[in-house]
Structure formats: structure tokens, C-alpha cells
């Protein structure tokens, strides 16, 4: 019979305290697993989505909010910028590519983004089915959108005003799905893309309705008529995503935007870093909490083994009289510690994955959805830590078992 089986049997003979120790370890590793997976996914999402974007230009306000709304499609936009100024900036020699964004509508919580072919080039989008949007009210939808809302090429849907509410539906203009994108593993999976004109037209009608109402009330027909004359110059965008022509631009361009226009420039890299450092405080606190739990678990395993050693020293002495060497007793006690902590670690890692998957299912935002079905190399370290805690907690009892004077123990009884 191997030492492993003897240790295993010994643990089974006291199931409650073994289970308690395993639970403590599992709880600690579970929290660490969730933190590891979540922070990995968040930073990966942050990186993936802002990969090729050097700068975002939008209305003045919080730069973080601008980044969140224009790159991650999470927060509300800071406001609008005039199309005219945006066009001027796009022509700047510092800019290699400028992608216009017009936000403001959604379909059942999925954001509708008015943009042009630069967006396709920026994210290197590929089609899975159909074609890219071409005419007004044609939409190309992300793989996630197609799956979630069960839309096919040729289907139609109505956009609603706002970024998440479904109350104010634009009934006049249905969108037609012209194509479905390949899954990209970034925000574009959960977006509906169309041309800017569609977003404008949707809102022109909308505003016209309101203005006509207002105009008729005030008897001011002239204003409403003037609206028709105003062309592109009066139009507005939400923001511009900018790729620099050369790295040199970093030094000049953002300052130029911030100082000479009434728009603001925000750097995704900078804002992501500051966002991550905000999250980081919480992550760090939880990490220490988990480490504390692991420490308590280690002490608990130690106390458990140490106490049971007192009861078992006669057993161990008998094993010696049956021919077991000191080394074998050492091994039996150490293996007990390792089985406890390693089993706890396995349970904890599994729990962590389940918990994160569960959390992901209940998350509101599609863009920041976390999943538990992802395995990282770093998880190996959790097992190494489990192993180390097991050895750490069992080493003193094991040395005692090794050094015990069996003649003394046997003659005591």
C-alpha cells in the first residue's frame, strides 16, 4: 500500500476537518482565480480595442468618458463636435487616418454607430456574410449582434433613440441588415455599423418633428425653412478616432487640438492606464484579502496536521515497528498536507471559473462581458502556490513524525 493511499485514507477518517481545510484553500484560490481571469480579460479588452487608435477627438468634458464612449462603447458621449472642425482636423498633416463616429441610437441595447469605410480599415473588419453598408439605412452588424438578436442578411429592425433605452423607437426608418461581420474578438462584435447619413437622417426627422411642433406653436415658419438650407456645415459628429502619420505627432497634435479648437483630444493609452490604476486599487485589496485567506488556510492545515499527529503518534510508531522507515512517515504526513491543499486549489480554480462565467451571464454591458471559459498559463502558479502551502503547513508535523522516538511513545502506553 503506497504512502499516498495511507494519507488519503487518513484524511477520509476525519472528513469534517479535511473539508474545512479544503474549503478555506478553495475560497482563497477561487478569489485569486477570479481576479486573475477578470483583470486579464479587462486589460486584454482594453488593449484589443484601442490597439490602433492613437487619439480620440470629441467634445470637451471628461477624457475618460470620451475614451469609454468612443472606443469601448460603455459610457455616454461627452457631446457633439461640428462636422466642419472635424473635417479640418482630418486633413491635418499629422493625421494618417481619421474615423468619424456618430452615436446616439441603439437597437435593444446594442449601439448603432454611424461611420465610414475608414472604420472597416481601422479594425480590419472582414465579412462573414453579405456586404458592407453602402446606402442609407443599410447596416452591417457584428457577429455577436447577429447571434444575440438572431438577425440575418435582409432582416430589418428599428433603431431607438438613446444608447440603451428602447422606448423612443424611430418608426419611420427601418434598418436593413446588409452584412454580418466575422467575429473579431473586440467591440465590433457587438456593434451595428451604418453610414453617418443614416444617423443624421434619423435625427433630422426626429428634430424636425419637434421643431415643426415648436415652430407651429410660435408661428415661426422661417426657422424651420432655414433648416432645409443648412447643409453639411451645420451637421455634427460624436467623435473622431485618429491614427497618427508619425510618432512625432504625439508631441504636437493633442496640444494643438486642446488649445486651438473647442474640442478635446484624449489618448486611449493614457486613459486606459489611469482607468486600470483605478480598478487596480480594488484588485489589490481583494488580492491581499485572498492571500490572507490562503494564509489562514495554511495555518489551519498546519494545526489540523499537528493536532492529528498527537493522536496519531502511536499509529506512526506502530508503522515503524512494521518496517516503515522514518522517511516514509515524513512522506505520509507531507502527502496529507499536499492532498488537502492541492484538492482545495483544484476546487478553488474550478469555482473561480464557474463564478466568473456566472457573473458574465448577469452583466448588462455586452462590451465588458467576462467569461469563465478561458484558461491562462498563470493559473499554473495557483497550483504551485497550493503545493507550496501544503508543504509549508505539513513540514513541521512531518519533521516531528520523522524524528519521533518510537521507543518512548510505545512505552508510554
Amino acid at each position: 500500500m503506497s504512502p499516498i493511499k495511507i494519507s488519503w485514507k487518513s484524511l477520509w477518517s476525519k472528513p469534517l476537518s479535511s473539508a474545512l481545510n479544503m474549503m478555506l484553500i478553495a475560497f482563497g484560490t477561487g478569489i485569486l482565480t477570479i481576479l486573475l481571469l477578470a483583470s486579464h480579460q479587462i486589460s486584454q479588452k482594453l488593449d484589443n480595442n484601442s490597439k490602433d487608435i492613437d487619439l480620440v477627438v470629441g467634445a470637451k468634458g471628461s477624457p475618460l468618458q470620451l475614451i469609454l464612449s468612443s472606443i469601448y462603447y460603455i459610457d455616454f458621449p461627452t457631446g457633439n463636435i461640428p462636422l466642419k472642425s472635424a473635417k479640418e482636423l482630418s486633413r491635418s498633416p499629422f493625421v494618417k487616418r481619421a474615423v468619424p463616429l456618430a452615436l446616439g441610437d441603439n437597437y435593444n441595447g446594442t449601439r448603432i454607430v454611424g461611420t465610414d469605410s475608414n472604420f472597416v480599415a481601422l479594425y480590419q473588419l472582414k465579412l462573414n456574410d453579405g456586404k458592407f453598408w453602402n446606402n442609407d439605412f443599410e447596416a452591417t452588424i457584428g457577429a455577436g449582434v447577429a447571434k444575440e438578436h438572431q438577425l440575418k442578411v435582409g432582416d430589418t429592425f428599428f433603431g431607438a433613440h438613446g444608447l440603451s433605452s428602447t422606448s423612443d423607437v424611430h418608426k419611420n426608418h427601418p434598418y436593413t441588415v446588409s452584412g454580418i461581420l466575422e467575429s473579431q474578438g473586440n467591440v465590433t462584435d457587438n456593434l451595428i455599423l451604418t453610414n453617418i447619413a443614416s444617423v443624421w437622417k434619423m435625427h433630422d426627422d426626429h428634430e424636425d418633428d419637434h421643431k415643426n411642433e415648436a415652430a407651429s406653436k410660435h408661428g415661426d415658419h422661417q426657422h424651420a425653412a432655414a433648416k432645409q438650407v443648412e447643409n453639411e456645415d451645420d451637421k455634427e459628429l460624436t467623435s473622431l478616432l485618429i491614427q497618427y502619420r508619425s510618432p512625432m505627432s504625439v508631441a504636437i497634435f493633442p496640444r494643438m487640438v486642446n488649445e486651438t479648437t473647442n474640442m478635446q483630444a484624449a489618448s486611449p493609452a493614457q486613459e486606459s492606464t489611469s482607468l486600470f490604476s483605478l480598478i487596480g486599487v480594488g484588485v489589490e485589496t481583494l488580492q491581499w484579502f485572498a492571500v490572507l485567506i490562503m494564509l489562514i488556510a495554511a495555518i489551519s492545515v498546519f494545526v489540523n496536521l499537528y493536532n492529528s499527529l498527537k493522536e496519531r503518534q502511536y499509529d506512526l510508531a506502530i508503522m515503524r515497528t512494521l518496517g516503515a522507515s522514518r522517511g516514509k512517515l515524513f512522506l505520509i504526513v507531507i502527502i496529507e498536507g499536499i492532498i488537502l491543499t492541492l484538492a482545495g486549489t483544484i476546487i478553488g480554480v474550478a469555482l473561480g471559473h464557474f463564478a466568473l462565467q456566472f457573473i458574465g451571464n448577469y452583466q448588462e454591458s455586452n462590451q465588458a462581458r467576462l467569461t469563465g471559459i478561458i484558461f491562462l498559463k498563470e493559473e499554473i502558479y495557483l497550483f504551485v502556490a497550493g503545493l507550496a502551502i501544503g508543504i509549508f503547513a505539513a513540514i513541521i508535523p512531518a519533521i516531528q513524525a520523522y524524528k519521533s522516538n518510537i521507543s518512548k511513545i510505545l512505552s508510554k502506553n
Binding site: 500500500m1 503506497s2 495511507i6 485514507k9 487518513s10 477520509w12 477518517s13 502511536y314 499509529d315 506502530i318 508503522m319 515503524r320 515497528t321 512494521l322 518496517g323 516503515a324 522507515s325 522514518r326 522517511g327 516514509k328 518510537i406 521507543s407 510505545l410 512505552s411 502506553n413
Partner: protein, 209 residues
């Protein structure tokens, strides 16, 4: 053949105890007598390689056991010496048959379940094979500890007060089984006791003063 030669044990720096030389022929059955505190357990521990004496040699089957390395001595003990204690200490987390199997594996012998059945059968407890120690009576447990002691067919079978915690009937049965098992396994038997019920059964006696 087992011999004890000029063995001295030191309890405290000033208090040595010297044991008379002892020759035990293979297959003979001995009684080790002595009042409690006379060094009975000490002598048994020295004889079984558990306690290294201050001086002297213990030779079993031609091997001077205290010249072996610690690990080799443990294995030698597992293979050649069976020990029965006053109280039948079995490993509580293991079943009866597993308690016998670990005696085989600790001695580095292959697991032999046939031998386990054979020994348990000979001691009349074959039906308790899968039970756990806390389900058995004292008398049954003592039989299991005899089974464990003889499982590897040892050359030397040593019993330390095997009957003192048993009633007359069980004491008689255990003694009979001990003598019968040592005969069946061709083992030399040494029984240490101060139990008067046991004395008459033995021809040879080694007395401690």
C-alpha cells in the same frame, strides 16, 4: 537463532542497567518475567531494534541488527520481527485487511491477499476482513494484532503483555493462538508478562531482577 550479548542500557547518566546474555534457539518459546519497572519493555525494545543499547550486540538470524543502517533496520524489523503489544493498536483509518496489507508493504513485500485471508482464517476472524478497528471487540482486535505480527512469517515473534487487558477466557485463547501461530510459522516466541495465568505454558524463562 537470536542472541543478546553484554547489552547495557543507560536510563540516566548514573543509572545503567545490564541485561544477562541470552541465547534463544530458533523455534523455541520463551517467557520473559519481571516486575513492572524492571526493564521488560526496555529489553523488548532492544530486542526488536527499536531502542539502540548503550553497549552490546543483538544478533538475529546471523545479523547484528544495530550495525544496520536506520532504514535497513526498519526493513529488517518489518520482515523478521512480529510485535504484539499489550493493547492492539491498529490504524483506525484502515480496514482490518488493509491493516495487514500495510504490514506487507512496509516490509517491502508484495501484497499477498491470499496470505491475509489465510492468517485471518487461522485466527477465526475472516469475516471481519472489511470491518474497521472501531467495530471490533478487544479480544477480536488482539487477534488482528497477532495476525498482523505473523503476516510476514517472522523469525521472531514478540508479545508485550498480550493478555493483561483481557479476561480469563480471552487471555487463554490469545495465548493458545500465539503458541499455535508461532509453531505454524516456525517463529521463535518471546512473551513478556507479569500475568500469572500465562506462566505454566512455557518451558523456558528469562527473568529480570
Amino acid at each position: 537463532m537470536i542472541s543478546l550479548k553484554s547489552v547495557t542500557h543507560r536510563y540516566h547518566p548514573q543509572q545503567d542497567i545490564r541485561f544477562e546474555d541470552w541465547q534463544i534457539d530458533a523455534g523455541s518459546q520463551w517467557l520473559l518475567l519481571g516486575a513492572s519497572g524492571s526493564g521488560k519493555s526496555t529489553l523488548l525494545h532492544i530486542l526488536t531494534g527499536i531502542l539502540k543499547p548503550e553497549q552490546g550486540h543483538v544478533t538475529i538470524k546471523g545479523t547484528s541488527i544495530y550495525d544496520l543502517s536506520a532504514k535497513a533496520l526498519d526493513q529488517f524489523r518489518g520482515r523478521n520481527i512480529g510485535i504484539i503489544f499489550q493493547r492492539p493498536h491498529l490504524i483506525k483509518s484502515l480496514s482490518i485487511s488493509e491493516n495487514l496489507v500495510i504490514a506487507q508493504s512496509f516490509a517491502n513485500l508484495p501484497t499477498d491477499l491470499k496470505r491475509v485471508d489465510e492468517v485471518l482464517g487461522a485466527l477465526g476472524i475472516a469475516d471481519k476482513k472489511n470491518a474497521y478497528p472501531d467495530q471490533l471487540s478487544q479480544g477480536q482486535l488482539q487477534r488482528v494484532s497477532i495476525a498482523r505480527a505473523v503476516i510476514n512469517k517472522p523469525a521472531l515473534l514478540i508479545a508485550d503483555e498480550p493478555t493483561s487487558s483481557l479476561d480469563d477466557n480471552n487471555a487463554r485463547i490469545v495465548l493458545e493462538l500465539l503458541m499455535q501461530q508461532s509453531g505454524a510459522n516456525q517463529a521463535t516466541l518471546v512473551v513478556a508478562t507479569h500475568d500469572k495465568r500465562v506462566k505454566d505454558a512455557f518451558k523456558h524463562t528469562y527473568e529480570l531482577s
